[in-house]
């Protein structure tokens, strides 16, 4: 084995151009593959990350402007949901299907102030479930809890951006402070996480508190609930239709009006997103495989030419006593050595390129006006995938080299010697 290695080392050393060319093909193939996978991963992460932050597994129903006249009403009427919609939603008709019904009050803008500093907020009375349904993540403190609702607590949850405006420093610093909403003081119990691409400024207070102080009517802004049962897109659409028809009846909306109420189905949004991400993933796989194939073709091409070029040399080796197996061993060991060394180099450079991509493009956010989106999130490839891809290329390169090697090994020495 050591002898073979020395033999190969001397051959590679003395055929620098050929070694470099083969090596370059291998390195380039692996490099492209790693970069592609890295960029693809970044794209996926960005896509999934940007979506998953917002889509919750729940259904939210809100009032909307009608588009058809019905039962003596004009079109263009704004539908206002109220307590009877909640009773309908919680009704026996939907027992076992609809769960965790919660609602939020109407809302209004408000100015929050603390020690002379002010910031805008959007006041809304909510239930404890609101946090999960809106995918809020706490940066400090807690969210509104059932006790707050029971006791009409004057507590408020604000965003990290608002907290920073009111009291520079860590969000936790503002927990327990009393801030003024107009003339009414509220105690901050929680701060939810926002980042630079997040302009949310809703400031939730307990549902009951809001009702007492700001809106004693039974109007509500939205109803949110989970469903149990519908699985497929079709089942969800059927459910939305059945559920919506009840609401429409309550508000005298034309049964065939596509507007009037707005049902935001997080389940089907998720399904569609998963479908899209599956498509992206598949496209990436196809691109990756094509890249790999082109790498393999490149390597095997070079192996083919190399072996052909060296036929005379193999003839000499045979004449002085090399067995066919020795020739085979020589070629294959050589191709493994080249693909392994240069594959590793290509993999390394590819990983470095991914890191660079992460530090440059990955850090840049694209401003879409309403929000900022990070194009690539963590565009890197796991070491395991990188190693697997490299290993695959090495094996493929070896197999590709094995066919011409096998042929070369079988050529009669006299024929090999005749070759030029």
């Amino acid at each position: 084995m050591r002898e073979l290695f020395h033999e190969i080392a001397s051959t590679l050393r003395n055929n620098k151009l050929r070694t470099a060319l083969t090596g370059f093909a291998v390195s380039w193939g692996i490099f492209l593959l790693i970069c592609l996978l890295g960029a693809g991963n970044g794209l996926m992460n960005s896509f999934m990350g940007n979506m998953e932050d917002y889509i919750s597994q729940s259904i939210t129903v809100e009032g909307w402007r009608t588009s058809k006249p019905y039962a003596g009403y004009q079109e263009g009427r704004i539908i206002q949901l109220d307590q009877q919609d909640i009773r309908y939603t919680k009704g026996t008709q939907w027992e076992g299907i609809i769960e965790n019904v919660s609602s939020s009050t109407t809302s209004q803008s408000a100015t929050l102030s603390l020690n002379g500093k002010t910031v805008n907020g959007w006041l809304m009375g909510v239930m404890p479930d609101y946090m999960e349904q809106q995918k809020l993540k706490l940066a400090a403190g807690r969210f509104i809890n059932p006790a707050d609702i029971r006791e009409n607590g004057k507590v408020i949850v604000i965003s990290a951006a608002q907290a920073k405006e009111l009291l520079p420093g860590e969000p936790a610093g503002i927990i327990g402070k009393w801030i003024n909403l107009g003339a009414i003081p509220f105690r901050v119990v929680g701060v939810y996480h926002t980042d630079e691409r997040d302009y949310r400024r809703t400031t939730p207070v307990p549902y009951s508190t809001y009702k007492v102080i700001y809106d004693s009517s039974d109007k509500i802004e939205s109803i949110t609930f989970n469903v149990n049962g519908p699985q497929t897109l079709e089942q969800h659409q059927a459910f939305e239709k059945a559920y919506g028809s009840g609401i429409k009846r309550l508000h005298s909306i034309a049964p065939d009006d596509n507007r009037g109420i707005w049902i935001n189905n997080g389940y089907t949004d998720n399904m569609q997103m998963n479908k899209a991400s599956r498509l992206i993933r598949r496209a990436l796989w196809i691109l990756g495989i094509l890249t790999l194939i082109s790498g393999i073709v490149g390597v095997s091409n070079i192996m083919l030419i190399t072996v052909k070029e060296r036929t005379h040399e193999f003839g000499i080796r045979k004449a002085i006593g090399a067995r066919p197996g020795e020739i085979l061993k020589l070629i294959i060991a050589e191709s493994i050595t080249i693909t392994a060394i240069f594959g590793y180099i290509g993999m390394f450079i590819g990983m470095v390129a991914c890191q660079i991509m992460d530090k440059t493009v990955g850090q840049r956010a694209v401003d879409l006006g309403v929000e900022k989106i990070q194009m690539l999130v963590n565009p890197t490839v796991g070491l395991d995938i990188a190693l697997e891809a490299t290993l695959l290329l090495i094996i493929a390169g070896t197999l590709a080299g094995a066919i011409p090697a096998w042929k070369a090994a079988r050529v009669k020495p006299i024929e090999a010697l005749r070759a030029e």
Partner: protein
Amino acid sequence: MLIELKGVHKTYNNGQPLHVLKGIDLNIEKGEFVSIMGASGSGKSTLLNILGILDNYDEGTYHLAGTLIKDLSERQAADYRNRMIGFVFQSFNLISFKTAVENVELPLYYQGVSRKERHAKAMEYLEKLGLTDWSHHFPNEMSGGQKQRVAIARALITQPQIILADEPTGALDSKTSVEVMQLLKRLNQEDGITIIVVTHESGVANETDKIIHIKDGIIGEIEENTRHTAWDGPMMK
């Protein structure tokens, strides 16, 4: 009897079949120094390749040191070539990207001899042929005569019983040709190696002890030439 051919036939079948050897009967004893002469295309190289187990033959028998050489596997053939036979070619057939000493070492590599040992042995043979100073040069840095001596060193390193040389002086000038023939003669006399040289130069053939003429695919006249009188001109034309 070291080499014993009986009724050996060889036909090339590339397109038009070409019957080159038409029943060769030939015996060569251990320690002989013979040359094979004949017109171009008469089958000298073909015969030598069969003797060297580089090529196979169609009919007849070939015994090498008592063993029938027929339908050998490539593996067996390689082992026989490695241990019994040394080759010297007209075009040297050195591996261009290996130095002189690496070329000489190679047959021992295929015997599984350790690197250190084969290097020492290769240096010993290069010294014997006066090439110590050239041991680390590549073939393209050497003259034809030097290359041929490297090739001879490579042929000798496994201490074969036979050296087969196909026009070993064909690419050399007359002075170097004389040197190479002297060298072969010395190896024959001092080490008792059987040497078979193919040539179409009478001067070269005259250096050998026996001249075998091949004509129309069969062995013609066999001249005993122990007194080296077959040719009265200078060794080279």
